[in-house]
């Protein structure tokens, strides 16, 4: 039986006909939309490489059935930069050498953006490490990743202060 769903992906409405309900959001993004920035690492919710934002919240797209998310608003790594202008988390990761092979990096970026929206970690490195524990980096770039997230957070705090001043 075919099922029709529609999603908003990086701001654009996309309609799909699913001939099989087994399709995950991860496979839909990669195989149907060719948005391959979202990575398939473990495919079992353990590594975080597939992290995307659904309705503003970070989740593991490998453990989400597309059919169950009809109507969802999705942000992937392809949607975070504005043209050539990198998202502050992207820029900070480059500045702090927050990656080596780069495979986990889109997941880390999406997770960090989600974490900053959640507002639980602030500028505390220990809380950042705890709140980012759902993303693994087998190259071991964690120190740079934490520094980058803290810098991006500080930049956001500053721009919020400027806005409210």
């Amino acid at each position: 039986m075919n099922h029709s769903i529609s999603l908003t992906v990086n701001g654009a409405r996309r309609d799909f006909v699913l001939d099989d309900p087994r399709v995950t959001l991860l496979d839909l993004l990669r195989e149907r939309l060719h948005l391959t920035g979202t990575k398939k690492g473990c495919d079992r919710g353990q590594c975080g490489a597939c992290t995307i934002l659904v309705d503003g919240k970070r989740i593991n797209s490998c453990l989400a059935l597309a059919i169950s998310h009809d109507g969802a608003d999705i942000l992937t790594i392809e949607g975070v930069a504005h043209g050539d202008q990198l998202h502050p988390v992207q820029a900070a990761l480059i500045a702090h050498d927050g990656f080596q092979c780069g495979f986990c990096t889109p997941g880390h970026i999406m997770s960090a953006i989600g974490m900053m929206r959640e507002g639980q970690a602030g500028n505390d490195p220990e809380r950042v490490r705890e709140c980012m524990s759902g993303n693994l980096c087998r190259c071991g770039a964690y120190a740079g990743i934490v520094d980058a997230v803290l810098e991006a957070q500080a930049g956001m705090d500053e721009s919020n202060q400027r806005r409210s001043a």
Partner: protein, 351 residues
């Protein structure tokens, strides 16, 4: 993953009818179910998606002082609800010590209760497992079993229940509201999960089609807010299941414990309520001696199911530490590393 039919009911009644069929299971967030299906551990014929049902995602304050948490409330939304976290701090701490931020953003209250064991032999379809396939045997008994049960286990199954959330819930007398073929009923959370006995394939007392619609905390549960902690030892500081955990909640008046609540996690096939230990603590001063006695009582029936005798002594020490931390008072802010014995803000207390 085996093919399945997908059903999205519009009402609870439709959901119950659709899920009462053989081979049908409910789908909430799917964070555990999809993982099991990808590994062919669970092979349902039909998924009944309840995530679009209305009215199950609310946190309601009832007139009698109870709190009703809808089954579809997300773990993160519950833990970060400021009112909830201040009234039930041990539950919030337990929630935040479980899984990862991504999983907590989607995993639901009802799904957390019904997650399956993480016993490696249950997950490995090449192994014998009485829980996965009734009567096939248990390869955990002679396998890698240092993380397995020390309370309530049987020769058929030595698996543990993995939930953190359930541990303070059972300590605080949580009630589970269920919609089934014969209408609505409710049971104590302590009666939801079963010990394995000869039928470990049945995790819970639910009947086919039964849908958990809410978890309710009775009015007395908020009385412990000033002295309530969750403490969890795991193989790594974050994003790991409990080796042993404890939820401790005290009601202290005039220097004496008026009431104590104690739950243990990672030790049995169900969240373990340690009532004998609670009795020891009634009307005594919160002293190290009293906590040691309570810990001894809590584990008096424990026995190793394999290479895991260490868990009994570990559980005693975790009980003493959790009670000590609870007596010292609920921290004003959630610790940076929730429930971690290695947290810098935990008071560095040693049992």
């Amino acid at each position: 993953m085996k093919p399945f039919d997908y059903v999205r009911p519009a009402t609870v009644a439709e959901a119950v009818a659709a899920a009462a069929q053989p081979g049908a299971v409910y789908l909430a967030a799917g964070t555990n179910l999809l993982d099991l299906m990808k590994g062919n551990v669970s092979r349902p014929d039909r998924l009944v998606d309840v995530t679009h049902l209305g009215g199950l995602d609310r946190i309601e304050h009832l007139a009698d002082g109870a709190l009703r948490i809808g089954a579809l409330v997300r773990n993160a939304d519950l833990a970060h609800d400021p009112e909830f976290a201040s009234a039930y701090p041990a539950i919030a701490e337990a929630l935040l010590s479980g899984a990862s931020a991504q999983l907590r953003n989607t995993a639901t209250v009802g799904g957390n209760l019904l997650q399956r064991t993480r016993c490696a032999y249950f997950y490995d379809t090449a192994s014998r497992c009485n829980k996965r396939e009734a009567g096939s045997g248990c390869d955990a008994r002679d396998g890698e079993n240092r993380s397995h049960a020390v309370l309530g286990w049987s020769d058929s199954c030595i698996a543990t229940h993995p939930s953190d959330f359930c541990v303070p819930l059972v300590a605080l007398d949580a009630v589970v509201e269920i919609e089934g073929g014969n209408g609505r009923r409710e049971i104590a959370l302590d009666e939801l999960h079963r010990l394995p006995g000869d039928t470990p394939e049945r995790d819970t007392t639910l009947e086919p089609g039964d849908l958990i619609v809410a978890v309710r905390l009775p009015p007395a549960a908020r009385g412990f807010a000033a002295h309530a902690r969750y403490l969890k030892v795991r193989e790594r500081t974050s994003y790991a299941f409990a080796v042993v955990s404890a939820a401790a909640a005290l009601l202290i008046e005039n220097g004496k414990i008026k009431q104590a609540r104690l739950g243990l996690g990672g030790v049995a096939a169900k969240p373990w309520r340690a009532r004998a230990a609670e009795d020891v603590l009634k009307d005594v001063a919160p002293t190290a001696d009293a906590f040691q006695e309570a810990a001894w009582r809590a584990l008096s029936d424990a026995k190793p199911s394999g290479d895991n005798a260490f868990k009994i002594e570990l559980a005693r020490r975790i009980v003493v530490r959790a009670l000590t931390l609870a007596a010292a008072g609920t921290p004003a802010r959630m610790p940076a590393l929730p429930a971690s014995p290695f947290a810098s803000t935990s008071g560095a207390l040693h049992a």
